[in-house]
């Protein structure tokens, strides 16, 4: 696709440094950046709260099976969908990084104000998972390949493959064994037991209750690779959805004719 004469003129005008045209489009950039920051924070945070939910809220839900398997699958949905318009329409390989950063902002606001100051939970119990490295790798692979199939394989998988390694340095101290009341638990279990969640008893935890039966009990590894496989599919699926929605255009309002108004012209 090539530029029309008007578009070429516009590009030439805004490409002149410090010109009025350049300043105007730059101001527009800043407005959009701020709006995008709020919008992505709100959308991605609510999506993640509703789907990853307790697995991300509590230290004693961060297990080797469900947390490691499900979180990347949930994480990849919005960044994959957003990667199409950002990359294909603007050449910006930043959707994963933007979503990851916005999620972190939203999570920490929620943990500090809602969980700690409002509901008294200690920070050791409520820290959010690190999601940035995997999502950044997705962006970087997309930029390197500029090919959706290779990005699906490497970028999609990297969201899951980087998740457990990114979080183990902060989670490991909470998996040190403790003996409390002659019972073996780890520090995370102990925190979950001690700091009362009135309506979330121990049995509600969706955690690994029995070791997976292959690879010598290496649950994290198995969960990670399974998640990576699903993430590949999800990346492609949501990238396609992003593509479809980005190219949707507008749909004529059929209802207008029913109330005696003039029909919309089809802009699609």
């Amino acid at each position: 696709m090539s530029l029309t004469a008007e578009e070429a003129r516009l590009l030439k005008a805004i490409s002149v440094p410090n010109s009025d045209a350049a300043k105007i489009v730059r101001n527009l950039d800043w407005i959009v950046v701020v709006v995008l920051l709020f919008a992505v924070t709100a959308a991605f945070h609510i999506h993640f709260m509703l789907t990853a939910g307790d697995w991300d809220f509590w230290v004693d839900w961060k297990d080797r099976m469900y947390w490691v398997t499900l979180t990347p699958m949930i994480l990849i949905i919005i960044p994959a969908a957003l990667s199409y318009p950002l990359m294909a329409k603007f050449g910006l390989p930043i959707s994963g990084t933007l979503c990851g950063l916005c999620l972190m902002i939203g999570e920490w606001i929620s943990r500090i104000s809602g969980f700690h100051l409002w509901a008294y939970f200690p920070y050791s119990m409520i820290w959010p998972a690190i999601v940035i490295p995997g999502l950044m790798l997705m962006d970087l692979f997309y930029m390197m390949f500029r090919n959706v199939f290779l990005t699906t394989i490497f970028g999609g998988a990297s969201v899951a493959l980087a998740f457990a390694p990114a979080n183990w340095p902060i989670l490991a101290p909470y998996h040190i064994p403790v003996v409390h009341m002659n019972q073996l638990v780890n520090v995370a279990d102990m925190i979950g037991y001690s700091f009362t969640r009135t309506a979330t008893p121990e049995y509600l935890r969706f955690i690994e209750r029995g070791t997976l039966r292959t690879f010598g009990g290496e649950s994290t590894l198995i969960s990670t690779f399974f998640s990576a496989f699903v993430c590949m599919i999800l990346f492609y699926m949501w990238w396609r959805i992003g593509q479809f929605l980005s190219n949707l255009g507008t749909i004529p309002n059929q209802l207008k004719t029913m109330v005696g108004l003039e029909a919309d012209k089809d802009e699609a």
Binding site: L28, D63, F90, A119, M144, P177, V178, V179
Partner: protein
């Protein structure tokens, strides 16, 4: 027209402010809002003792102990799961108290367990005061699919400063954790800041250049070499290497620092039932039960069969944490502790039609009357709205030597809406 709109808006605003001004604080747990069947036909708590009195003040870091017995009702409601998975807990406004220890029949209850219906279990809960304020503190069982079922509660005020709270433990590997609430947080923050910095770098890398209009037109012009330059690719490649290297090195270092870790423990504890000599000696048959709404009286016509070898007297009727005591029974009266929540003990007590001791082997038909405004204030009268209008309760009998005999009573309950 405009004035009308403004007037309506003004009225709405005033009404909203009035509502805000009259709304009180919700300090307890909505236990009165639980359906009567959940409170009358699931758990019956008794012999509950707190290490401090109702309305006591404790300091941050002080411990409070709750002990007592809990009876799992035989006629457990069909609409909720049987208590095959339960968790002994405390009902407090979140972690204002820290749970130090919980035991059921002396078995530690860090994990969940299953219990048998019709049995009585001894429980103990030790809490440690953490967040200052006036809190309602109950023992509680979380029952899978039924939710939290709370026992009687008392008010405890925690004084002091939240910042002074400390909860130390020692790990199996010999690490002394000074404060469980802040353990590891510095490390968490450090890693979060690190990755946020990396992400910010990558975003700034792109945002520093013209973004939308320029790039949209360049994409349309297929000028990808201007959109993503060789420098971008080089920085991107370096970042890939950097991120993967950081992940590998960080994990290697973590493995060296924490060589001994265990996964989250999700096993289930087995709590064996301890035979209770109080059970099964006295049997009850419910003939009829009526709830007289204007007088807030439950009258039960029942037959008592005494299979023990001692004469027994009915001393107490308890259901949904409400206690109706036979005030003529010294033994029953002596079991009411000073400081037990007043609102849970009926003033008028229990009126029995034939109060004399029931002899061994005797079956006696009698009427029992439990009258108190608490039927209303505890919102138990709403049992008449249930599709299954029935009640459940526990009766306590005492012999001359002070031994106690417990028996369940269950049946349909008929409403009487006005004086006949």
């Amino acid at each position: 027209m405009k004035h009308n709109k403004m007037a309506r808006l003004y009225v709405k605003l005033v009404m909203m402010l009035v509502l805000f001004s009259v709304a009180g604080h919700a300090l307890a747990h909505g236990e009165r809002n639980q359906e009567p069947f959940l409170r009358m036909k699931t758990l019956h708590w008794y012999d509950i003792k707190w290490s401090v009195a109702n309305e006591a003040t404790v300091q941050v870091n002080d411990e409070v102990t709750m002990t007592g017995k809990v009876h799992f009702f035989t006629r457990w409601p069909d609409q909720i799961n049987k208590p095959t998975t339960v968790f002994l807990a405390n009902a407090t406004p979140g972690p204002v108290f820290v749970r130090v220890g919980t035991w059921l029949n002396d078995i530690p209850m860090i994990q969940s367990t299953g219990v048998e219906l019709g049995r009585v279990y001894d429980f103990k809960v030790i809490l440690k005061a953490r967040v200052p304020g006036r809190h309602h503190v109950h023992p509680m069982f979380n029952v899978e699919s039924a939710g939290g079922l709370v026992g009687p509660g008392i008010w405890i005020t925690i004084a002091g400063d939240w910042e002074d709270f400390v909860y130390s433990i020692e790990t199996r590997t010999g690490v002394q954790i000074e404060n469980l609430g802040s353990y590891g947080v510095e490390n968490v923050v450090k890693w979060h800041v690190f990755w946020v910095a990396v992400a910010v770098f990558w975003l700034v890398w792109w945002i520093r250049r013209p973004l939308l209009v320029n790039r949209f037109l360049l994409v349309k012009n297929n000028a990808w070499s201007e959109l993503i330059t060789k420098t971008d690719l080089m920085v991107g490649a370096l970042l890939i290497v950097f991120i993967i290297t950081v992940l590998i090195v960080a994990n290697k270092y973590t493995k060296e620092e924490y060589p001994r870790t265990v996964p989250l423990q999700g096993g289930k504890v087995e709590v064996n039932y301890v035979p209770n000599p109080e059970e099964g000696q006295v049997l009850i048959k419910n003939h009829t039960a009526e709830y007289y709404l204007p007088g807030r009286t439950v009258t039960i016509d029942l037959s008592v069969t005494n299979n023990s070898d001692k004469a027994v007297t009915l001393g107490e009727f308890t259901s949904a944490n409400l206690r109706f005591i036979n005030q003529d029974s010294e033994e029953a009266m002596s079991r009411v502790d000073v400081g037990y929540p007043d609102e849970l003990i009926a003033n008028k007590g229990l009126v029995i039609s034939k109060p004399s001791p029931i002899l061994p082997g005797e079956t006696r038909r009698m009427q029992v009357e439990a009258t108190d405004v608490a039927w209303e204030t505890e919102r138990l009268s709403s049992l008449l709205n249930d599709p299954d209008s029935s009640y459940g309760a526990l009766l306590f009998f005492y012999d001359d030597e002070g031994s106690r005999y417990t028996a369940e009573v269950y049946g349909q309950i008929l409403p009487t809406f006005f004086d006949k």
